[in-house]
């Protein structure tokens, strides 16, 4: 079938491309991510609460706390200045905080979902409320961070003014994602008992197996095709850094999440318990926005959509964007469609209201705020 190869131009062009590519790569020093100015305002064990420097004079009085998943790192929300959900929201006048869960080590293997939701997340929320002077905050949970945020909002509705679920899995009874199919057959107890901290590489293997030919071959072929383009190379390396920057998972939290959510689907049935308390999604009555990605191969819409129906909020809305899971954070649609729509929904709901007392940080109101925080 192959008769002859007679394309010297192609070979020469390829050679020039690789020569230029090697120059581009040798010029690169450090791959910077998460560069939006920020400070760490609270930390507890491995968890850090990050406060981003506001970019407008009078930001919205209700702060936004972004809760990223325990898998991979939060800085996908701030990958580079032109691909940053966080910067986009700051520029639109929001006061933004984010949680960095850190890298669990051996001593974290016994951390449970209760520790994450009623411990770390609750303390971070309280800190944001104290620092901002707002009684209630907007909680924006991303992916599994969205699942944790939903649990939190159901258990502590008095602290949440607005809830935004961003590509978050809630109903796990679906066969649209391979993760949901595979999880059913896993002997979670054996895995947790052996590893303690579930290695990030173990999870990465699962993610790569979702589409091995594209993720292990085609992606890199595409990279070499554009190796002479500095911007493409930088973006690729940033993504590559994020993809394989995978913290391990605290064993007990992983055990409960896999069994209660992926295997028994208890959350959407209002039968899941953490810290001895049942999570009733009907307790969620604050304004709610459910954001989904149409081509999400990790969290299919079938997994997120039922939440809109399951809660008792009257002010609720679902939005689906024509992109994939990661595209929601770093794709062009993220900056041009997702963030503007999110801001448009959130802004009118981020005003001070009568219930939101103690907002001003003057002396008189500070005490009042403290009282209401108890």
């Amino acid at each position: 079938m192959i008769q002859k190869i007679n394309e010297p131009d192609f070979i020469r062009e390829t050679f020039i491309k690789f020569q230029k590519g090697s120059e581009v790569i040798s010029e690169l020093t450090e791959i910077l991510v998460g560069v939006t100015p920020h400070e760490i305002v609270y930390s507890e064990d491995k968890m850090k609460l990050i406060h981003y420097k506001t970019t407008v004079k009078n930001p919205c009085p209700v702060p936004v706390l972004m809760v990223y998943a325990l898998v991979n790192r939060y800085y996908i929300l701030d990958l580079s200045p032109d691909k940053s959900v966080i910067k986009n929201l700051l520029d639109r006048g929001f006061d933004v905080y984010a949680i960095d869960w850190g890298y669990p080590s051996g001593m974290d293997r016994y951390l449970t979902i209760d520790d994450y939701v009623n411990g770390y997340l609750n303390n971070a929320v309280d800190h944001v409320r104290r620092k901002s002077g707002a009684d209630k905050i907007s909680l924006l949970g991303v992916c599994v961070g969205g699942t944790l945020s939903v649990m939190f909002a159901a258990l502590h509705p008095e602290k949440v003014k607005n809830l935004i679920s961003f590509v978050a899995p809630i109903d796990f009874e679906t066969d649209k994602s391979l993760l949901n199919i595979w999880a059913k057959e896993m002997d979670v107890d054996k895995i947790v008992d052996y590893y303690g901290i579930i290695p990030g590489d173990f999870l990465n293997m699962g993610f790569l197996l979702l589409d091995p030919f594209r993720l292990l071959i085609d992606k890199y072929v595409g990279f070499f095709e554009h190796i002479d383009d500095k911007k493409t190379v930088e973006n690729f390396l940033r993504m590559e850094k994020w993809i394989f920057d995978s913290p391990g998972q605290a064993g007990e939290a992983y055990r409960q999440f896999m069994k209660d959510c992926y295997q028994e689907n208890l959350l959407i049935k209002n039968r899941m318990e953490i810290g001895g308390k049942r999570i009733n999604l009907k307790e969620i009555s604050m304004p709610f926005l459910n954001i989904m990605a149409e081509f999400d191969h990790l969290v299919p819409n079938e997994s997120s959509l039922p939440l809109t129906r399951a809660i008792s909020s009257t002010d609720k809305e679902s939005m689906v964007f024509p992109t994939g899971h990661i595209g929601m954070f770093v794709g062009s649609k993220s900056q041009n469609e997702v963030c503007p729509k999110l801001a448009q929904w959130l802004k009118p709901r981020s005003k001070k209201d009568e219930n939101n007392i103690g907002v001003k940080k003057n002396k008189t109101n500070h005490n009042k705020s403290k009282e209401s925080l108890k």
Binding site: M1, I2, Q3, K4, I5, N6, E7, F10, D45, G106, M107, D108, R109, Y110, L111, D115, G119, D175, L178, I181, W182, K184, E185, M186, D187, K190, I191, D193, Y194, G196, L209, L210, D211, P212, F213, R214, I217, D218, V221, K370, K374
Partner: protein, 179 residues
């Protein structure tokens, strides 16, 4: 029986014969001062044969699916004719990626794969756990070195203490705010 299934079937038959003959010796009770250690070591044998068996199943599955993908690819490339130039190479590559990716995704989506993967993971972890226990038993403990079991006990204790301290701090804060 296809070529790629033969090792699995052969191994199953061999194992059956082995367990009914020489392998049976391993199940005899051990004797003497090292009795306990010997018995523990002999317990590893079935774990590794199980692992080998499920590994063979996986290899056979992947061989079959690769064959299927190759057939599909063959059907597609048969339609391409003429001189192969670099543009066509790219076309072949795209076809190859698409065909293999789709074929493998079909397989990965099947209950057969998830069942086999579950079994494989289970057996792999059992075997690793056994290795770890043997390492602790035969090397670390006699050398009076800390084992992962020891460290895990400390981790559990630390977790519990940390939780108590946090709870006490919370109560102290509540009491001091109440003043």
């Amino acid at each position: 029986m296809s070529m790629d299934e033969s090792p699995t079937i052969f191994f199953a038959q061999w194992l059956k014969a082995w367990e009914a003959s020489f392998g049976h010796i391993g199940e005899f009770p051990a004797l003497g001062p090292s009795r306990e250690k010997t018995e523990k070591m002999m317990k590893g044998y079935p774990l590794f044969t199980d692992l080998y068996s499920v590994w063979l199943d996986s290899v056979s599955d992947f061989a079959n699916i690769s064959l299927e993908a190759m057939k599909r690819m063959n059907d597609k490339t048969a339609l391409m004719d003429g001189q192969i130039n670099p543009v066509k190479y790219k076309e072949i590559y795209n076809n190859w990626i698409e065909t293999y990716s789709d074929t493998f995704k079909e397989f990965l989506r099947s209950g057969h794969f998830s069942g086999d993967m579950g079994k494989f993971m289970s057996c792999l972890i059992e075997a690793r756990k056994y290795n770890q226990e043997m390492l602790e038993e035969n090397f670390l403990k006699p050398m009076n070195l800390p084992t992962s079991t020891d460290i895990d006990e400390i981790n559990r204790e630390l977790y519990s203490l940390k939780k108590t301290v946090k709870e006490l701090n919370r109560k102290i804060n509540e009491l001091s705010q109440g003043k």
